[in-house]
Symmetry: C2
């Protein structure tokens, strides 16, 4: 496939092919910091925005019209899977979507079903197909899902929590019940990612936003085996590279590498050089500028971004990104400066690789 | 000094002397989960409780009357240092003490002064002296301070924050100004800890509760040098062992070991075995049961605590604790079960060390 898509810089980076410029995108790049996003948000509620494929595709493509980004990540919500499995969602203003009733008991697991997921999530696949048709051929289309642990946290805690006592009770008091929940989620997420790939996703990212609240034994027991299984199965059924973003889990990076992802999302707390040293040589990295840097000023943004790019040492299999989602208060021209700094950065040519030219932009 | 205090188990552990039982205390052990604490809190406001030495000493000793704990940590607030340096505090119900006006600008640094700190913080030293007089001779008296970075976060952000943008602006845009603030804090904290030791503290703990929001370069530039300097100076002027608790900073543990602390507080995210492997052989560890375990049930508490004690591998220089403060909702008898599980745990005798008996309890 790679010979047919020589111009897709981000895909090349995922596959470890040499690049003469670093691919860049931003987590939550289709979001509230964009005036054109806020304009649509004034007319439609959040749920409508991601459930109507034309609207979702339009919002997905907004940042690419403004900036020379290398990827379009589909505009959606990570809670669509539990919703499709049977948990009713409601949008709470200022908090985003939340489940109407949290999972409080393992006896409620029977309400969760993967049946009909393809039909219930058709809006996601339609959005992906629309985006694939409309996006410039040099950009990569990214699909995504929440990872099982993170979805379990949302399902049991309902929203975020100060001490996550409910999901911790499942973890410490009812581990077998938690395994049953994780198992159901892993199966549904696998289906979901495979269907996303068939609908047009060229790369998929698994967001494990709440892994950082666990203990190390918990990560070994409830996170790694399920993420590993999802990645192995998606790789058996598709050829899309997989990015795993274990936010707040940098203390376990060498262990998390057992999940078998192609690229690891690195949050801003760990330097990319440290991350590289802790990962196997064949793993790639993505990240990791602290999003608050984009609230400062042009000089600071340029200097801090260049420092990050210089320090990564090995520019193979590296996707430039923020270390977390872009903040809603970010001035648009600051995002522009970040992206331009990356695009004008000269990647040192490694002596051992061929320097190929791509058509670029 | 150690020959005069053979019965102080926690001090022995800090010094690396063999122990035949593991010392245990709990962060926030004098707190809202105790009915006798809530009774006093009904009569006095929080500020009065730590500013009146008799009251503060009484609250400090409450958990020791109920449980066979090995240490009394003085009841105080980590914001007393900035307050003594000139920043006015107000207690906000439900949020605790907050600064009336945050530090917004480096031009305001001149309001901060270490002059008269000994007088302004006399209530702390008096509390320590009272506690030292009243506490059973087998218990160790622990003093504490916030670490410079954590105090800077509170001073600049005022309270906690979602994205910590204000302190991050200092970090990325105005690093020289942040250095000036850190420098002033390090000097005052050093004085404060030395004075605590002279007033009766036998061990001191530095709480770096907000280190986890930084990036790795930030930790190298703004955290390690200042903590290192404080520890070196306190060690020159006193013989108290120092515990450094970099909560949320487990991804940098090998680097943080350069601070020179005797014992590192480990939050619950990292197993104690992993922490040991990443620290120099002469460093001790403290921790690290997830406090939500104490919300479960007796069997779960016993099993999880024993698992932690078994897994630590090396029981030298190990202080048992939670991985963060005890939660206010913790049932008192669950805290009791945790402590009893530790006290009845048989420490394997290492073949290479002498097995000494202490008077114990």
């Amino acid at each position: 496939m790679s010979q047919h898509t020589p111009q897709k810089l981000l895909l090349k980076a995922c596959r470890g092919e040499p690049v003469d410029r670093l691919p860049v995108w931003m987590m939550r790049q289709a979001g509230r910091y964009l005036p054109e996003y806020r304009k649509i948000r004034e007319k439609y509620d959040f749920t409508t925005m991601y459930k109507q494929p034309e609207l979702a595709a339009e919002v997905t493509l907004q940042p690419l019209k403004r900036f020379p980004l290398d990827a379009a990540i589909i505009f959606s919500d990570i809670l669509v899977i539990p919703e499709a499995m049977g948990m009713a969602l409601a949008f709470v203003e200022g908090k985003g979507p939340q489940f109407q009733t949290p999972l409080t008991n393992v006896d409620e697991l029977h309400i969760l079903s993967r049946d009909g997921i393809e039909e219930k999530l058709r809006f996601v696949f339609q959005t992906l197909t629309l985006v694939s048709q409309e996006v410039d051929a040099s950009r990569t289309v990214i699909g995504f899902s929440g990872a099982p642990w993170t979805l379990a946290v949302y399902m049991v805690e309902r929203g975020t929590s100060r001490d996550f006592r409910r999901i911790k009770q499942w973890r410490f008091q009812h581990p077998q019940q938690l395994h049953r929940l994780m198992d159901r989620l892993a199966v549904a997420i696998t289906d979901y990612l495979v269907l996303q790939a068939r609908a047009g996703a060229e790369v998929v990212q698994l967001f494990d936003s709440w892994v950082g609240i666990l203990d190390e034994d918990g990560v070994r027991e409830f996170v790694i085996p399920y993420v590993q299984r999802i990645i192995a199965q998606v790789k058996r059924e598709t050829d899309v590279p997989i990015i795993y973003f274990p936010r707040g889990g940098m203390q376990w990076l060498p262990e998390l590498a057992r999940t078998g992802a192609d690229i690891y999302g690195i949050d801003w707390t760990l330097s990319l050089a440290s991350a590289r040293r802790q990962l196997p040589a064949e793993s790639g990295v993505q990240g990791n500028l602290d999003p608050t840097v984009l609230l400062t000023d042009g000089d600071t943004i340029q200097r801090t971004t260049r420092h990050m790019l210089d320090a990564v040492e090995n520019h193979r299999r590296y996707i430039v990104n923020l270390g977390h989602g872009i903040l809603p208060q970010t001035p648009v021209h600051h995002a522009q400066i970040f992206i331009e700094t990356v695009k004008t950065y000269s990647v040192p040519v490694p002596e051992t690789s061929h320097h190929t030219h791509n058509t670029g932009d």
